[in-house]
C-alpha cells in the first residue's frame, strides 16, 4: 500500500478537556507544514463515522483523551494491538468514539491501517464549556511532539513554519459585540 498518513484529533470542542484532540490539531497546523501524504484533521466526535478517515490509510495517528489511572494531563501512548486488545464492550458501551470498532470493522473488510499510534491524555474536567484546564493545556505541546516524532519515524517529517503564529482555536474566541 502506498504510504498515506492521517493525523486525527478526536473530541468535542464544546466540552472542556474533551477538546484536547482538536486543540493538538490546531497547534500542529499553526506551527508546521506537512508533506503531501500526510493529512491533519480535526474530526470531532464521529463515532462510527470514523470509517472514511481510517479506511485507505496506511498509518494513523489519533490524538484523544483516554481513561486511565493517573493525573490529568499525563500522556498514554498505545499501538494498534493494544487498542484492540480489550474487545469493544457488548454493544452498550458509553461515550465510545468507535475507534476500536472502526478498526476491527476495517480489518475485517481488509482496508484498515497497518499501524496506529494513539496519543492519549488523561482529562481533568470535561464539563460543558470551551477551554482546556491548565494541566491539559500544558500537555498540548508534548502530545504534538509525540505526533511529530511518529511522522519522522514514518519517513514523512513535518517542517516548522517560518514566522509561525500561536494556535488560536476559533471555538475559544470570546463572544464579542457585533460591529454593524
Amino acid at each position: 500500500m502506498e504510504k498515506t498518513v492521517r493525523v486525527l484529533g478526536l473530541g468535542n470542542v464544546l466540552m472542556g478537556d474533551d477538546a484536547f484532540g482538536p486543540w493538538v490539531i490546531e497547534f500542529l497546523s499553526a506551527g508546521w507544514t506537512f508533506p503531501g501524504e500526510v493529512s491533519v484533521v480535526d474530526v470531532g466526535t464521529p463515532g462510527l463515522d470514523l470509517v472514511p478517515y481510517l479506511s485507505g490509510a496506511s498509518h494513523v495517528v489519533i490524538v484523544d483523551t483516554v481513561r486511565s489511572d493517573g493525573n490529568p494531563g499525563e500522556l498514554r501512548l498505545y499501538r494498534k494491538a493494544e487498542v484492540l486488545k480489550v474487545p469493544p464492550q457488548p454493544r452498550l458501551s458509553p461515550h465510545d468514539p468507535g475507534v476500536k470498532e472502526t478498526l476491527l470493522m476495517l480489518d475485517f473488510a481488509g482496508t484498515g491501517p497497518e499501524e496506529v499510534l494513539l496519543v492519549g491524555a488523561i482529562p481533568g474536567s470535561s464539563a460543558m464549556g470551551v477551554g482546556l484546564t491548565p494541566a491539559l493545556q500544558a500537555a498540548v505541546a508534548p502530545a504534538a511532539a509525540e505526533v511529530l516524532r511518529e511522522l519522522e519515524r514514518l519517513g514523512c517529517p513535518a517542517a516548522p513554519r517560518a514566522g509561525a503564529i500561536p494556535a488560536a482555536p476559533w471555538w475559544e474566541a470570546p463572544a464579542s459585540p457585533v460591529v454593524h
Partner: protein, 566 residues
C-alpha cells in the same frame, strides 16, 4: 409488580441514554427513557454573532454535524427574512442528501442490523443457496456463490483468530434470533459492502463542504463555494460529475441491496410486526427547498394524529405558523427548575439535578410537544405524512418495499405494518431511496441553473437594531430538528435547539403522557431478562443520538456491563 430491567446506556454512539423497563409475564409493562447527560450547550452561544452560530452548533454532536449547521443558518435567515440564492439551496440540498444517505446506511448495517443478524450463524450457510436466494430478489452483481464463499471464509478467519469482538453483542444464539444461516451470510456480505458505500457518499460532503465531518462552506445567506465551471480550484464541472457518478452508484446500492435486505429482515421477522408502534402522532417538516424563500419542497412535511392518515395536515413553508406556534417543551419530569411548559423562544436551561425518580424528575431531556401532544419524529413520520398526502415518490418506494417484503413473507402487506419497530427500519430505507432520487434531481437543477449563467451563492445578512426572532427547521436523518434564535442588536440573546431525539426520547410531561420510546416498548416480548435484546431492537429502530456527549476513549477496558435485571 414485575421484574425491573435497567439498560444503561442503550446507544452505541454519541451519548448516554438509560432505559428502564418493567417486565410482567414475559412482556414489557412499563418503560422510562432517561437522558443521562446535561445538554445545555446552547448557553455557549449567548452574546455571540448569529453569523457564526452554525460553527458552534455543528459541534453539538459529532454524528449529526451538518444538520445542526443547516438548521442554524436557516434560523438566522428566518429571523432576517433573508432569501437564499438558488445555487446555495441546491448545494445545501446535495450536502444534506449525501449526509442522510450516509447516516441511514451506517445505521442499518453497522449499528442496528446486529440486533437481527447472527453473524456466527453465517458459518453454517450454504453459499450457493444464499446466492440463489439473493439473485431471486435482486440483480446486484456481487451476490454470486464465489463472493459469498469468500465472505464466509473471512468470518471463519475472524472467528478462529478470536477477533469477533467487532460483532460482539453478547446475543449470539439468543432465542429471538431467527434468520436462516443463508440470510445471515448475505447480511454480513452487505455489511462489508456498505462500509465502502458509506465512505463513497461521504466524498460528496467533502467535495462541497471542503472538509468533513465539519463542513466549512456554509454562511448565513447562502454558501461560500466559489463556482467556476472551468477552474480547477473552484467547484467545477469535473467535481460536479464526480458527484453525479457517486449518486448513480448509491442509487444502485440502495435499490438492489439496502431495500432488499431491509424487506427480507422485516418479512422473516414478521412475528415482530405487531410490536413497537407506541405513539401514533407523527410530525415531519418539509425539506429540500426548490426556491429561494422556502415555499416549495421536494420532501413533504406535516402532522398525523392517532395513526389516522386522513388527519394529515401539511407544513408548507419555512415561515409556516402551524409549526412555529405549536411547539413547546415541558420540564415537569426533567431535571430542570420548575414544571413549566414553554415555547422555545422563551425556553430556559436551568439545571436542577436529582435522583432518578420515575414518579418525579428522571431525565436531562425535556419533553417537547406539538399542540400539547406527544409526537413521533423520524423517517417513519416523514414517510407517513408523505404517503397520506399522496406524494408520488413516497408512494413509489413504499409500495416497492411492501411488495418486496410481501414476496419474501408470502403474504400481502399493508402500509399499516409500518407503525412498528420494523416499520421504522423500512421507512428509513424508503426515505434513503427517495433522498437519493431527490438529490440526483437537485444535481440536475443545480447544473441547469449554472448553465443559465447564474453563479450567485450568497445574500449578505444585515442585522437590525432591536429584537428579531427566527426558527429554522430541517428534516434530519433522525427527524424534525429545529433551532430557535432570539437576536438583540445583532447578538444572540436566546438559542434553543429542539432535536429529533428529544422528541422521541423525552420523558413524560405534565399530563403524564409517556414519550415515544417509552410508549413503543410497552408490550414488547422479553425472552431473557438478562439479555433484553428486544428492548434494544425497539430503541435502536429510532436511531437514538441523544446527548452530545464527551468521548473519553477507554482503551484499557474498565467499563462494566451495563445491563441490570432486578
Amino acid at each position: 409488580m414485575g421484574k425491573k430491567i435497567t439498560v444503561d446506556p442503550v446507544t452505541r454512539i454519541e451519548g448516554h441514554l438509560r432505559v428502564d423497563v418493567e417486565v410482567d409475564g414475559g412482556r414489557v409493562s412499563n418503560a422510562w427513557s432517561s437522558g443521562q447527560m446535561f445538554r445545555g450547550i446552547e448557553t455557549i452561544l449567548l452574546g455571540r454573532d448569529p453569523r457564526e452560530a452554525w460553527l458552534f452548533t455543528q459541534r453539538f454532536c459529532g454524528v449529526c454535524t451538518t444538520v445542526h449547521a443547516i438548521a442554524s443558518v436557516r434560523a438566522v435567515e428566518n429571523a432576517l427574512q433573508l432569501e437564499v440564492p438558488l445555487n446555495a439551496q441546491f448545494i445545501r440540498n446535495l450536502i444534506m442528501g449525501a449526509h442522510a444517505m450516509h447516516d441511514h446506511i451506517v445505521h442499518f448495517y453497522h449499528l442496528s442490523a446486529l440486533d437481527w443478524v447472527d453473524v456466527v450463524s453465517a458459518l453454517k450457510a450454504d453459499p450457493a443457496k444464499a446466492s440463489a436466494l439473493a439473485e431471486s430478489l435482486s440483480p446486484w452483481p456481487h451476490n454470486n456463490t464465489l463472493q459469498l464463499k469468500a465472505v464466509q471464509n473471512k468470518v471463519k478467519a475472524f472467528v478462529e483468530g478470536g477477533q469477533l469482538g467487532i460483532f460482539t453483542n453478547g446475543y449470539w444464539g439468543h432465542p429471538a434470533m431467527k434468520l436462516p444461516p443463508e440470510v445471515n451470510l448475505l447480511a454480513v456480505a452487505h455489511y462489508l459492502e456498505a462500509l465502502e458505500y458509506q465512505r463513497k457518499v461521504n466524498r460528496i460532503v467533502a467535495i462541497l463542504g471542503s472538509k468533513t465531518p465539519n463542513i466549512q462552506n456554509l454562511a448565513v445567506g447562502g454558501v461560500a463555494n466559489a463556482i467556476n465551471l472551468d477552474n480547477q480550484a473552484t467547484l467545477n464541472m469535473n467535481k460536479l460529475f464526480e458527484i453525479k457518478d457517486i449518486l448513480d452508484e448509491m442509487m444502485a446500492f440502495i435499490e438492489q441491496v439496502y431495500l432488499v435486505d431491509v424487506c427480507a429482515v422485516g418479512a422473516l421477522y414478521k412475528d415482530w410486526l405487531p410490536y413497537g408502534a407506541g405513539v401514533k402522532n407523527y410530525l415531519a417538516v418539509p425539506d429540500f427547498p426548490l426556491d429561494t424563500k422556502g415555499t416549495k419542497f421536494d420532501l413533504p412535511g406535516g402532522t398525523i394524529f392517532n395513526g389516522d392518515l386522513g388527519s394529515v395536515k401539511p407544513i408548507t413553508s419555512f415561515n409556516d405558523p402551524y409549526f412555529r406556534d405549536n411547539v413547546t417543551e415541558n420540564v415537569e419530569h426533567a431535571w430542570y427548575e420548575g414544571k413549566a411548559t414553554k415555547h422555545p423562544y422563551e425556553g430556559e436551561t436551568k439545571p436542577k439535578y436529582g435522583e432518578f425518580d420515575p414518579a418525579g424528575k428522571y431525565s436531562w431531556v425535556k419533553a417537547p410537544r406539538f399542540q400539547g401532544k406527544v409526537m413521533q419524529v423520524g423517517p417513519l413520520a416523514q414517510v407517513l405524512v408523505g404517503f397520506a398526502q399522496g406524494h408520488e415518490l413516497t408512494k413509489k418506494w413504499a409500495t416497492k418495499a411492501l411488495e418486496t417484503a410481501g414476496k419474501v413473507a408470502g403474504a400481502q402487506l399493508s402500509p399499516a405494518i409500518l407503525h412498528s419497530t420494523l416499520g421504522r427500519h423500512v421507512a428509513r430505507m424508503v426515505r434513503t431511496a427517495m433522498i437519493c432520487e431527490i438529490t440526483l434531481k437537485h444535481w440536475g437543477l443545480f447544473v441547469e441553473n449554472l448553465k443559465k449563467g447564474d453563479t450567485t451563492i450568497f445574500n449578505e445578512p444585515k442585522f437590525p437594531s432591536g429584537t428579531v426572532k427566527g426558527f429554522g427547521f430541517h428534516e434530519a436523518p433522525r427527524g424534525v430538528l429545529s433551532h430557535w434564535v432570539v437576536i438583540e442588536n445583532g447578538k444572540i440573546a436566546n438559542y434553543q435547539a429542539v432535536v429529533p431525539s428529544t422528541w422521541n426520547a423525552g420523558p413524560r410531561d405534565e399530563k403524564s403522557q409517556p414519550g415515544p420510546y417509552e410508549a413503543s416498548l410497552v408490550g414488547n416480548p422479553i425472552a431473557d431478562p438478562e439479555k433484553p435484546l428486544e428492548v434494544l431492537r425497539t430503541i435502536h429502530s429510532f436511531d437514538p443520538c441523544i446527548a452530545c456527549a464527551i468521548h473519553t476513549l477507554d482503551v484499557e477496558g474498565k467499563e462494566l456491563a451495563k445491563v441490570k435485571a432486578l
